[in-house]
């Protein structure tokens, strides 16, 4: 295409056709302008076209192309000046394609050595790039050829033993019925909700307030009145009165008896589901009616990650009701009812642990701790509420748990990653595969109860980047091994004692501290999604060990009281407790020795050596740390559980926390 002289002369045109080197020197030379070069030679028509075509066919950089064009144009101009006609010049020129090739090669040879080396370098780089891209394309094709295969219905697997449990052995219908009845027995007149139409959740809140009030108005804690809680209650204008509390507990006694019966059954027997519960009675109980229209399975098998466990709070509330009723029974001198309540609370704790999810274990532990507190408080303030037979029965209830020390079962917690793996990793049929691009959106969808978009083409960016990202993350087999290793260490820690537990091991993944796997993008990518779903297991294991330690303490205190009754005075040492009453006294979680014990100021006192790991003869801890540093203060007296932050072989002695911590004191 020819351009006019006017166009050639414009500053913009010249600027666009000036090499950068000239511009740097302040010259607007315009010497990259091929058309101007041809025009300057005075060539038009076929000769100009020939020069233009040959110059372009050389595929040389613009500056070299213009040089070639200038030489050719000058040649034709000289030929015309010598009287040769256009046709002859074109014919004599020869094959323009071959000419362009020869011109290109010779111009390339003319370049400086550095430019030629650079060109070779670029060529080598280009070839390498093509090879790499080719290999990557093969890898990408291979990546997209494989798909996740959802083989196992883990939800059904979880529910299989539940479905196999006879209806008569299932506790949940009885618990639900009892809790429904208790809800309906709450008298709104007793509270600020009077006159309002209350749903089940609102009624549960009222029950909780009554239970709180009842707990405070029954027996005192062994450590003395809970002044803080009593103060808060005194500030509440509409706190339930003692009469109202008594009235409610009188009314709910039949329901509590129903709870006791249910808690004695072998299993909880509630199927776990994603979305809506399968039992219409559950839908009504949990107030899920409004979800009926939108719920429904979205794929072949629902994921365990989307399982809902709305019954856990209900069971914990039932446990609190029973523990509180036990307190009231102790205060009323009704040891038999108290024992029945404690037995039932321990039954609920056992039932809620199956299926063995981590959260279920923690709910079970929390109910057990409520029962333990009742016993410790009762042994200090109302020991006479229990007959010898009552004490023997309580000891038997807790001894059952002692035989089952590894009750902290996380087997089903492992299923979370197994289920996630079958949905978000490809399946090569041999237990391996790679992470797919769906995982990010998929986890979010599963958490909301939705499914996984397994079908559909990837975006261009997804196609390109997913194989690279998959190679940066762990493959399925390795991820599974790390996950199982994590839970193996948890199981091992659960079998250990508090003074033996390796906390660093518990909070690590693949030998690296958990926080390190999230510290940089490489760790986040490599361990994704393991690091997202791995539970805060170290705290959970410590909670379990705290429960076990507290249970051992309770057994010891019961044996202490039974020994006092047998010999007529407090024994001088825990090691002399009769073995028919207690196989072995509780151990100090800080050093594994028998918990320290003495008669101080005429009363029996049991203490732990505390975070300083030194026995100060029961002299209570003096926390010298600045509370404004934000660290939790250690109070004494206290519970063993409150000290669990300081347990473990890898915990240094806390030298600033001088003194012991009293964990039970008689009166």
């Amino acid at each position: 295409m020819n351009t006019t002289g006017t166009e050639h002369s414009t500053t913009g045109h010249r600027l666009r056709n000036t090499p950068m080197t000239d511009l740097v020197r302040g010259r607007v030379s315009g010497r990259l302008d091929l058309e101007a070069t041809i025009a300057d030679a005075g060539l038009v028509g076929p000769l100009a076209d020939l020069v233009r075509r040959v110059a372009k066919r050389t595929r040389l950089p613009r500056l070299e192309r213009v040089d070639v064009a200038r030489d050719l144009a000058e040649h034709f101009r000289d030929g015309l000046a010598a009287g040769t006609d256009e046709e002859t010049l074109i014919r004599d020129f020869g094959d323009e394609r071959a000419a362009a090739q020869l011109l290109r090669r010779s111009m390339v040879r003319k370049r400086p050595l550095l430019a030629r080396v650079g060109r070779r370098f670029v060529q080598a780089g280009s070839i390498t790039m093509v090879v790499v891209v080719g290999l990557y394309a093969i890898a990408a094709a291979n990546y997209w050829r494989q798909r996740p295969i959802i083989r196992t219905d883990y939800v059904a697997q979880l529910n299989a033993p539940i479905a196999a449990t006879p209806e008569s052995e299932r506790a949940w219908p009885g618990i639900r019925g009892a809790m429904t009845e208790i809800r309906m027995l709450v008298d709104p007149v007793d509270s600020s909700d009077a006159g309002m139409a209350l749903d089940g959740v609102a009624r549960d809140r009222i029950v909780t307030r009554f239970v709180d009030a009842a707990r405070l108005s029954a027996i005192e804690p062994w450590s003395g009145p809970d002044e803080d809680a009593l103060g808060r209650q005194a500030m509440e204008e509409d706190a339930p009165t003692r009469e109202a509390v008594d009235g409610l507990f009188d009314r709910v006694e039949p329901a509590l008896e129903q709870l006791r019966v249910a808690a004695a059954l072998p299993a909880l027997g509630r199927e776990v589901t994603t979305g809506l519960p399968s039992d219409p009675a559950d839908v009504a109980f949990f107030g899920f009616e409004s979800r009926v229209a939108t719920a429904g399975p979205t794929q072949a098998f629902d994921s365990v990650l989307a399982i809902e466990l709305p019954h856990y709070p209900t069971i914990r509330n039932a446990g609190r009701l029973l523990a509180t009723d036990a307190r009231r029974a102790v205060a009323a001198g009704d040891g038999e009812r108290a024992v029945a309540d404690l037995e039932a609370a321990m039954g609920l704790a056992r039932q809620v642990r199956t299926p063995s999810f981590l959260i279920g274990q923690l709910v079970g532990s929390s109910i057990e701790m409520l029962a333990f507190d009742v016993v410790l408080d009762a042994m200090a303030t109302h020991p006479d509420a229990f007959t010898d037979a009552d004490l023997e029965r309580i000891a038997g209830v807790f001894a059952v748990r002692a035989d089952d020390r590894s009750a902290f079962d996380l087997a089903n917690e492992r299923l979370f990653f197994e289920d996630l793996a079958q949905r978000f990793y490809t399946d090569d049929g041999e237990g391996n595969g790679h992470l797919t691009l769906h995982v990010g959106a998929g986890i979010g969808a599963l958490n909301q109860g939705g499914g996984l978009p397994l079908e559909g083409l990837p975006t261009a960016a997804g196609f390109l980047f997913a194989p690279a990202l998959a190679n940066l993350s762990l493959d399925r087999r390795t991820a599974m091994e790390i996950w199982n290793d994590f839970f193996d260490r948890c199981d091992e820690a659960c079998r250990a004692e508090p003074w033996q537990v390796d906390r660093a091991s518990l909070s690590s993944l693949d030998g690296r501290p958990l926080e390190e796997t999230m510290a940089d993008w490489r760790g986040r990518l490599k361990y994704f999604p393991l690091n997202l779903i791995v539970p805060a297991i170290d705290n959970a294991v410590l909670a379990m060990l705290a429960t076990e330690s507290q249970r051992d303490l309770v057994e010891t205190v019961i044996a202490l009281e039974r020994t006092r009754r047998r010999v007529g005075e407090w024994p001088p040492s825990l090691s002399v407790l009769p073995t028919d009453l207690l196989a072995e006294p509780a151990r100090d979680p800080f050093d594994g020795e028998i918990l320290r014990y003495g008669i101080l100021d005429g009363v029996p006192v049991i203490w732990t050596i505390g975070p300083d790991r030194r026995d100060d003869g029961g002299l209570e801890i003096e926390d010298r740390r600045d509370p404004e540093q934000g660290r939790r203060r250690i109070d004494s007296p206290s519970s063993l559980a409150s000290l669990s932050d300081y347990w473990g072989v890898d915990q240094d002695a806390e030298r600033e926390l001088v003194g012991d911590v009293v964990v039970w004191r008689g009166r």
Partner: protein, 119 residues
């Protein structure tokens, strides 16, 4: 008569060097001179000449300079370098040896040999 391409590839450069040994010339002038002096035997078009000149330049055997000619227009003139003269002398001796050998074999006649002695 047109010369085979392979022969032209060997003869072209020494012919151009030979012409430039007399003084600097521009492209069209070289084509004309080759055609005229060899009776068209070594006639080469632009498509051969300019790549040849660029190659000789790349080897440092010739050098070029663009300047305004007598007619007032810019032209690129080519001339031999010192290396070019050395190369011409060497090539001439080789061609002489080849020609003598060919003559001894009766392949070439005195006429063709005389063509290569135009310098």
């Amino acid at each position: 008569m047109r010369i085979e391409r392979e022969l032209m590839r060997g003869a072209g450069p020494v012919a151009v060097l030979s012409l430039l040994s007399r003084g600097e010339m521009y492209g069209y002038e070289l084509v004309e001179a080759l055609d005229r002096r060899t009776d068209g035997v070594l006639d080469m078009g632009q498509s051969t000449l300019y790549p040849l000149l660029y190659n000789l330049e790349a080897k440092g055997i010739v050098e070029s300079e663009r300047r305004v000619a007598d007619n007032g227009r810019e032209r690129k003139y080519y001339r031999l370098t010192g290396d070019g003269r050395t190369r011409l002398a060497s090539d001439s001796r080789q061609w002489q040896a080849v020609t003598d050998a060919m003559r001894a074999l009766g392949v070439v006649t005195g006429r063709l040999a005389s063509v290569w002695r135009f310098a």
